[in-house]
Symmetry: D2
Subunit: 293 residues, 4 copies
C-alpha cells in the first residue's frame, strides 16, 4: 500500500477588486470578489516542495488587478473566461483554471459619481477552462436572494411516522434564501457584456416570477417551477441548480392571551431549517459534473 496525491488545486481566493470607468464625467462602478484556482503538474510541489510549476497566488491576484485595468470589467462571465484562459494558455504547468466571481451591486444616487450599495442578492459566475480551444464551462447565478410569500403555500399529505407531530396546513408563509446557478450550453462565443447581463437579468426575473406565481404544495414544487421557468425562457441555458433553505415562519400561538391568530403574527426562526436542493435540466443537456464544483 502506497500513499499518493489525489485531486488538488490552489489559488488566490477573494481578491476584492473595484473598477471605475468614466463616460465623460459620469462614472461607472464594478465591484467584484474574484477567486482563482489552478491545477496541473503539481506533484512536485506537494511531494518535495519544489515550486517550479507554481505560479504564486500573489501573481494571480496581480493578474486580476492588471486585467481589470487592461480589459475593463464587462460581465463577470467574460471576465472569468478571460482570466481562466490566460492562466492555462500562458503557463505550461497549468492545465486547468477555475474562476469564481461574486459581484456586488450598486445603485446610483444623485450626481454622476455617487453610489449606494444594493444590499440584495449577489450575482455569481463560475468558469472552468482547460485553455483556449479546450473544454470549458460557464455557470451564472445568484446568491442571497431572500423571497417570501405571505400566502399561497400549503403542506399536507406527507408521511406520518412515529416521530411526526407536524400538523398539515393549507395556508402558510413560504420564505427562502435562494442560491441558484444555471449552466450555459456553451461559452457563448460572440457575446458582449450586454448579452451576459440580459441573460442574467432575465433568468433572475424568471426565478422571481415563478416563485411569486406558483401556488405551492411543497417547497420542492416551487424549486422545480423556478428552475423550469428559467430553462423555458432561456434557450442558452441547459441546467439550473438551486439550494433553498425553508426559512420557517411559525404562527405564534396567541390563544393563551385570548387572541386568535389568523395568519397575522409569525416568529421567524433561525435554526433548524429545512434545506431543499435540486437540479432541473433539459433532457439534451450534456453531462458536466465538473462545471459546478
Amino acid at each position: 500500500m502506497a500513499i499518493v496525491l489525489g485531486p488538488n488545486r490552489y489559488g488566490k481566493a477573494e481578491t476584492r477588486v473595484v473598477r471605475v470607468s468614466r463616460d465623460g464625467g459620469v462614472h461607472r462602478l464594478k465591484d467584484l470578489n474574484v477567486s482563482v484556482s489552478l491545477s496541473g503538474a503539481m506533484e512536485d510541489v506537494h511531494l518535495t516542495g519544489d515550486n517550479a510549476a507554481v505560479l504564486p497566488t500573489d501573481s494571480q491576484k496581480n493578474t486580476v488587478f492588471a486585467f481589470a485595468k487592461k480589459y475593463g470589467v464587462g460581465a463577470v462571465e467574460e471576465f472569468g473566461l478571460l482570466l481562466a484562459r490566460h492562466f492555462v494558455d500562458s503557463q505550461p504547468t497549468i492545465t486547468h483554471a477555475r474562476v469564481e466571481i461574486r459581484e456586488y451591486g450598486w445603485k446610483r444616487i444623485s450626481g454622476p459619481h455617487s453610489f449606494v450599495r444594493d444590499g440584495g442578492e449577489v450575482r455569481t459566475a463560475l468558469v472552468h477552462s482547460d485553455g483556449t480551444g479546450g473544454a470549458e464551462s460557464v455557470v451564472s447565478g445568484l446568491a442571497d436572494l431572500v423571497v417570501l410569500n405571505t400566502t399561497g403555500s400549503e403542506f399536507h399529505g406527507f408521511i406520518e411516522d412515529e416521530y411526526t407531530t407536524l400538523a398539515p396546513t393549507d395556508d402558510r408563509v413560504l420564505a427562502t434564501e435562494v442560491t441558484a446557478r444555471w449552466r450555459h450550453r456553451d461559452t457563448a462565443p460572440g457575446w458582449e457584456a450586454e448579452d451576459w447581463d440580459a441573460s442574467y437579468l432575465e433568468a433572475r426575473a424568471a426565478l422571481l416570477a415563478a416563485f411569486a406565481e406558483t401556488h405551492s404544495l411543497s417547497l420542492q414544487q416551487t424549486l422545480y417551477q423556478m428552475g423550469r421557468r428559467v430553462l423555458a425562457e432561456r434557450a442558452e441555458l441547459c441546467e439550473v441548480r438551486m439550494a433553498m433553505p425553508n426559512k420557517h415562519h411559525f404562527l405564534v400561538d396567541l390563544e393563551p392571551f385570548g387572541m386568535d391568530n389568523d395568519n397575522e403574527v409569525y416568529f421567524a426562526a433561525d435554526r433548524p431549517y429545512g434545506l431543499i436542493e435540486g437540479a432541473v435540466l433539459t433532457d439534451d443537456a450534456p453531462g458536466a459534473p465538473a462545471a459546478w464544483s
Copy 2:
C-alpha cells in the same frame, strides 16, 4: 469597603416578529427584530435570587407577539413606545424600559402577496421610557447603509509625524458604511405611522444627498455635513450621531506591469479601517445622554 450592585437591566433580545396585514387580497409585511431591556427594583434578584420583581423575559417576548396582533405594527418608533410604556405602566417593579428595534425592508414582486428582501440598510429605533407621563426619548436611525463616491474626495494637509508615510491625495474613492441615529425633540404626540415614516425617509434622503453633494476634504467633513443636513431639513430632530468606517479603497500599483492607474483599479480592503464617530446637534437640544445607550 463593601461590594454593591451598580446599574443593571435585563430583557429579551432579538425577538423576530413578522406581522402580515391584509387590505382585501393585498398583503403588507412588517419584519422586526425587537429587543427589550427593563430596569427597576432589581436588588433582590441579584443579591438573593428572589424573582418577585422580575417579569420573565419569556413574557416580554410574548408581549411583543401579542402587541403585534392587538395593535398592528405601524412605525417602529410607535411600536417601541407602546411596548416600553406598557412594561413600566403595568409592573410596579419596573421603572424604566428600553426598546430597540431593527426593521428589515421588503419590496413587492409581482402579485399581491409576494416579496423580496431589500438587502440594503436596516431601519432602527431606540426608545426609552419611564412610563406614560414620565421621561421618554425616541431615537430613529439606520444601519448598514453602504455608500461610495468615486471622486470628489481629497485628503491632505494633515499632521506628519515620524510614523507618517501616507501620501496626500486630491482624488480618492470615499466609501463608508453609515450607522446614523437621530434624536427626536419629543415623542411626537399625535403622530401617525405615516408621520414617522416620512420623517425617516426624509432624514435618510438628507444623509444620502449630503454624502453625494459634499466635496470632501476629510471623512469628518462629510460626516458633519450629513448630520447638519438632517437637522437643517427636519425641525422635529435635535441631534444626529454617526459612526462611519472609512472603507479604504487603495489604488493598486500597476507600474510593475507597465500600466498607469488613473483612479481606475482599486483594492477594497477589510481591516484595518478608519473609524469616524461624531455628533451634530442644535444648540437648543436638551441633554439626553441616556437616550443613546
Copy 3:
C-alpha cells in the same frame, strides 16, 4: 427538448441538540449540530407537489432528538450512521440518507456539572447510507483548526511571469485554518464510541504533529505531509481531503521609521488569501466520490 428533474435531496439542517448524561452526580455533555438530507422517490413532490413520499423535515428533527434520548450520543460517526440507516430502513420512499454532524467541544471546570466551551476546532462527521446492508461511507474530520509556525517555512523557486512581484523568502510565518476530512475504509462494524474517539484524536494529533514538524517549502508540501501522516498512522483510513487557506502574515516595513524588522512584527491580513485544496490517499482506496458531497 423536455425539461426534467435532476439530482435532488432535502432535509432538516442544523438541528442543535445537547445531550446530558449522568454518571451518579457527574454529568457529561454532548453538543451537536445535525443536518439530515434524504433522497429517493421524489419525482412527484417536485412535479405536482404530491407529498406522499415526503417524510417532513420536522419529523427528521424530532427523530434527532428522540434518538439522542433513546440511544444516547456516543461518537458522532455512530450517531450519524444510526440516523441515516433509520431513515432509509423505515421509509420505502427514501433510498439514501446523508447525515452531517458538527460537534462542539466542552471542557470541565470545577465541579461535576460545569463546563466551558472549547472554542477551538469543531469535530465533524459525514455519513452516507443506502440503508442497512447497502452502500455506506463514513468521513470524519475537523474544521476551524487554526495553526501557525513562526519559522520553518520558505517559499521560492516559483514561476515568475509578467505579473509576478512577490519576492522569494526563506523565512516566513506559515498560518492556516485547517479543514480536514478523512474517509474510513468501511463503517467499522463492532466499533464502540471510544474507538471512533481514539481514531479521531489520533488523526488530529497526526495533523498537528506533521504541521509542526514539516520544514515547509510551500503550503502544498505541508498539506501533503499532514495527509500522509494521518494515513501512515491510521490503517482504518484510506483518504484525507484538506482545504487550507494561507492566512498571510506580511512582514511590516519598518524602515521608514528607522527600524529593521527581523521577522518580529507582522500584519495579519484577511483577504485575499491563498487557498490550497488537496487529497491524499492510499493507492488501494476504493473510489467513493459521493462520500464527500
Copy 4:
C-alpha cells in the same frame, strides 16, 4: 437655533498585529487587534475639512506596528497605555486617546515555534488617557467565554402577568456567553507584564469559579456572584461590568414519542435570548463613566 458639532473621535480600528519574540530558538507569539480613537481640537476638520489638527489614521496604524517592534508587547493593558499616552503626549491637537485591544490566545504544540489558536475567550483591554500625568483609566476583560451548568439552576417565583406562559422550574440548564470587563483602581504604576497577566488570570478564574459554584435562582444572581467574587479576590479592581445572554436550552418534549425527558435532551436555541447586563462595584469606587465607552 444653530447647528453645532458635538462629541467626536476618530482613529484606526482593528489593526491586526502579530509580534514574534525569541528566547534562543524558542519563540513567543502575541496576536492583537488594536483600535485607536483620538479626540481633541477637531472643530476645523469637521466644519471646513482643514486637516491641520489630524494625525492620519494611517500613521496611527504605523505607530502600532512600530511600537510592537520598539517596545515589544507585554500585557495588552500596558501596550494600550503606551500607545494612548504617546498620541496625546506627542500631538498638541490631541487631548484624549482611547485604545481598545483584543488579544487572541495561542497554545504551543510540539516544537519551539508551532502554535494552535486557542479558540476560547478573547482577552480585552480598554485604555483611556489624557496623556502622561493626566486622567487615565484601564479596564481589563474578556469576551466570548461560553459556560454552561447542566444543573444547579432554578427559575421560579417571578411575576406572572397576562402574557406569562413560562412554567417555573427547579432544574434547568444555565448557559451564557460572558462578556466581562473590570476596572482597575489606577493604572498600576510599577506593574510589569506578569502583574497584568496574573491579575487577568485570577479575575478570569474567579468568574469561572463563581459561575460553577453558584446555585442559581436567576441569571442575575449568577452575574452578581461572578462580579462580587472578582472584587473580593482582587483588591486592585473596583468595578466589574458584565453582559450575559441567557443562551436558552429548551427541554425537548419527547412525550409524543412515548419517552420521558428527565433533563437529558435539549434544543439549543439561537434567538431570541435573554440578556442580563449589570455592574458590581466597591462602595469606594471613584466614578468613571468614560472608562467604559
